[in-house]
């Protein structure tokens, strides 16, 4: 507009300036009243004080942020990150002494590991030439690289521990009993995947520690019955160091470049993928099996019902 009709722009302010005693002006045919602008600015500023009333906030969260039961319920149910939670839980179920929080902490550690792991992947090449140098580079040159690597390793150790403690708690509270039998089995798979994740990560720095740990670990695969070349009935069935299960794991007969690449792919893609799938099932089943198991009311011996076959 302004470029097309420069004359209009010039004329109108001068006209309205003379004609209006309030100081209101007209720009591009719009009347401008300073008082009104001030008022509108105040409204916007008031809005800043109460961000939950703004359209932006409402479009994102859609639920009022207040203490009514309805808002609290909807706040959980309408949030994709929180929707695995129920809206309400048994008042005793939030007690720390029952769950120890170990399952949730394990899941949180999995996220920490995913984030730090992805960041580490930016700096790491799974090749014999570069792997070890990349670690040195991370430790000495990358900003916060050492912190990143330390955090990844310690979170992994912590996760192995918390997953085991989670299993211990679930056992001691009898939470695997009907109707949660299947979810316990899924949890055992997740425990195994956790250990495998940690183990495959061990080789990646390509240092003596990882190399010999993985050598010791995979040497056991030689001895697999039937499928290993040193296992019972393995040689009889034609197993050699070049076609047995250890060869499949390492991509060769020794821990070398192929083993490094395979460990990398298992560690960064395949096992996290499987773990994610099993975790989805695990959390879904927690809800579908009726939420966390307790603290449940105590059952007495005389109340045991006969088995139905």
């Amino acid at each position: 507009m302004a470029e097309n009709n420069p004359t209009e722009v010039k004329d109108e302010p001068s006209e309205s300036a003379g004609g209006n005693g309030n100081g209101a002006r007209s720009l591009l045919g719009v009347t401008i009243d300073p008082d009104e602008i001030k008022k509108k600015a105040q409204i916007d500023l008031e809005g800043l004080k109460q961000p939950t009333k703004t359209e932006v906030y409402k479009s994102i969260f859609r639920v009022k942020h207040d203490q009514t039961a309805r808002s609290r319920t909807l706040g959980v149910l309408s949030n994709v990150f929180l929707h695995l939670h129920p809206a309400k839980v048994n008042r005793d179920a939030v007690r720390y002494n029952f769950t120890w929080g170990m399952g949730g902490i394990s899941f949180y550690l999995f996220w920490v590991l995913t984030w730090t792991g992805v960041l580490l992947m930016f700096y790491y090449h799974p090749t014999k030439v570069q792997a070890f140098r990349d670690i040195l580079y991370l430790e000495h040159d990358v900003p916060f690289g050492k912190l990143l690597r330390n955090m990844h390793r310690w979170a992994a150790h912590a996760m192995v521990l918390t997953v085991q403690l989670h299993m211990f708690r679930v056992f001691l509270t009898g939470s695997y009993k009907k109707p949660r039998q299947f979810n316990w089995s899924v949890g055992v798979i997740l425990l195994v995947l956790t250990l495998l994740l940690s183990f495959t990560g061990y080789l990646l720095p390509d240092d003596q520690l990882g190399f010999w740990a993985v050598t010791v670990g995979t040497n056991m695969a030689r001895a697999t019955p039937i499928l290993g070349h040193e296992g019972p009935f393995g040689p009889e069935l034609g197993m050699t160091p070049f076609n047995d299960v250890r060869f499949a794991l390492l991509g060769g007969s020794i821990v070398d470049a192929n083993a490094l690449l395979r460990a990398y792919i298992w560690h960064c893609i395949a096992i996290p993928g499987f773990a994610a799938i099993f975790m989805i099932v695990h959390f879904w089943r927690v809800r579908k099996d009726g939420g966390i198991s307790g603290p449940a009311p105590i059952m007495l011996e005389k109340e045991i019902k006969p088995v139905r076959r």
């Binding site: 029952f98 920490v112 670690i135 211990f168 009898g174 089995s185 061990y202 390509d206 001895a223 045991i304």
Partner: protein, 311 residues
């Protein structure tokens, strides 16, 4: 007493989880059993007082009239999860700033690490290699541990103790799990980390890791002690010994399973398949400490030698 050696092992950054485990596992065991005892006392009171059992809400924490039975997840649960995440983050940050992840020399296939140890959570399995051949310790046992854990819910026929800590209502299950998890799994990890030194030799805490140490001990097979020298008698003898162990262990397990009236009642609820699987897993679990004792106390290497495999 070589304190320096002890400190070298304990302060190794990768060994922090095990040192932590030494405190964390007993703490949580105590924490769980304390709650179990409180619940067991309540069970006793409710069993002695049927009227109370009708009205009591059956939890140790007293429920007061007027309280809501359920609380909103937001904020009462989510704030705890958020707090837990913050605490874990702080712990991780401090841990990562103060202790560096280990990095040894570049991988070198011609220079063997001594001792060369698996990651700490597999040291139980590596320790098992002392007592069994790799196909048992490295393949069969781990597989059975996984399968055994998976089938636990399907062989536990005791409906009591579902969703609360208890000891008296689940004595056998609790003992079996604590035996497998703490006495075997955790303590073998601790042995593998803190006790085993160069050459995978046994070094008591405080002993110097002497790389030139030699232990002159002759491990013999059981049939050599008995004096059987030729196959197939060696194989037959070993098979009989292993079979005999299974019968004895199975009988012992059966005695334990049927020790009380309550446990007999639970046994009555089990199908034959459930019972057979449970017995099989228990016998194999017991085989580990028996073989450990045979090896550590009597220096017996194999009890069953055949042309194809040795046990």
């Amino acid at each position: 007493m070589d304190w320096h050696q002890l400190w070298t092992i304990v302060s190794l950054p990768d060994n922090i989880p095990i040192v932590g485990m030494l405190f964390i596992i007993p703490f949580f065991t105590w924490y769980a059993l304390r709650q179990a005892r409180a619940n067991d006392r309540l069970v006793e009171r409710l069993e002695n007082d049927p009227d109370m059992a009708k009205t009591h809400h059956r939890k140790v924490q007293p429920f007061k009239k007027g309280w809501v039975r359920e609380v909103a997840v937001w904020p009462y649960l989510l704030r705890m999860e958020f707090l837990a995440a913050i605490i874990v983050t702080i712990i991780l940050m401090v841990w990562s700033i103060t202790l560096d992840a280990p990095l040894e020399e570049p991988a070198n296939p011609s220079l063997t690490m001594n001792p060369s140890k698996a990651p700490w959570y597999f040291l139980g399995l590596q320790e098992m290699l002392v007592y069994f051949d790799p196909w048992i310790a490295g393949v069969v046992m781990p597989t059975l541990i996984i399968i055994g854990l998976i089938v636990i819910p399907y062989i536990d026929a005791n409906p009591l103790g579902n969703g609360y800590y208890t000891y008296k209502q689940r004595r056998f299950a609790i003992w079996a799990f604590i035996f497998g998890f703490i006495i075997l799994w955790c303590s073998m990890i601790v042995i593998g980390t803190l006790i085993r030194g160069p050459g995978w030799m046994w070094f008591w805490p405080g002993m110097t890791w002497d790389h030139n140490r030699l232990i002159f001990e002759i491990n013999r097979d059981l049939h050599e002690i008995v004096g059987i020298t030729s196959q197939p008698w060696i194989g037959i003898f070993g098979g009989l010994v292993v079979g005999g162990f299974m019968v004895v262990a199975g009988y012992a397990c059966h005695r334990i399973i049927t020790a009380t009236e309550f446990s007999r009642k639970i046994l009555g609820r089990m199908s034959l398949l459930q019972y057979a699987i449970m017995q099989g897993l228990l016998i194999i679990m017991l085989a580990l400490p028996v073989k450990m004792a045979a090896r550590l106390l009597f220096r017996i290497k194999y009890v069953w030698v055949t042309p194809w495999f040795n046990v």
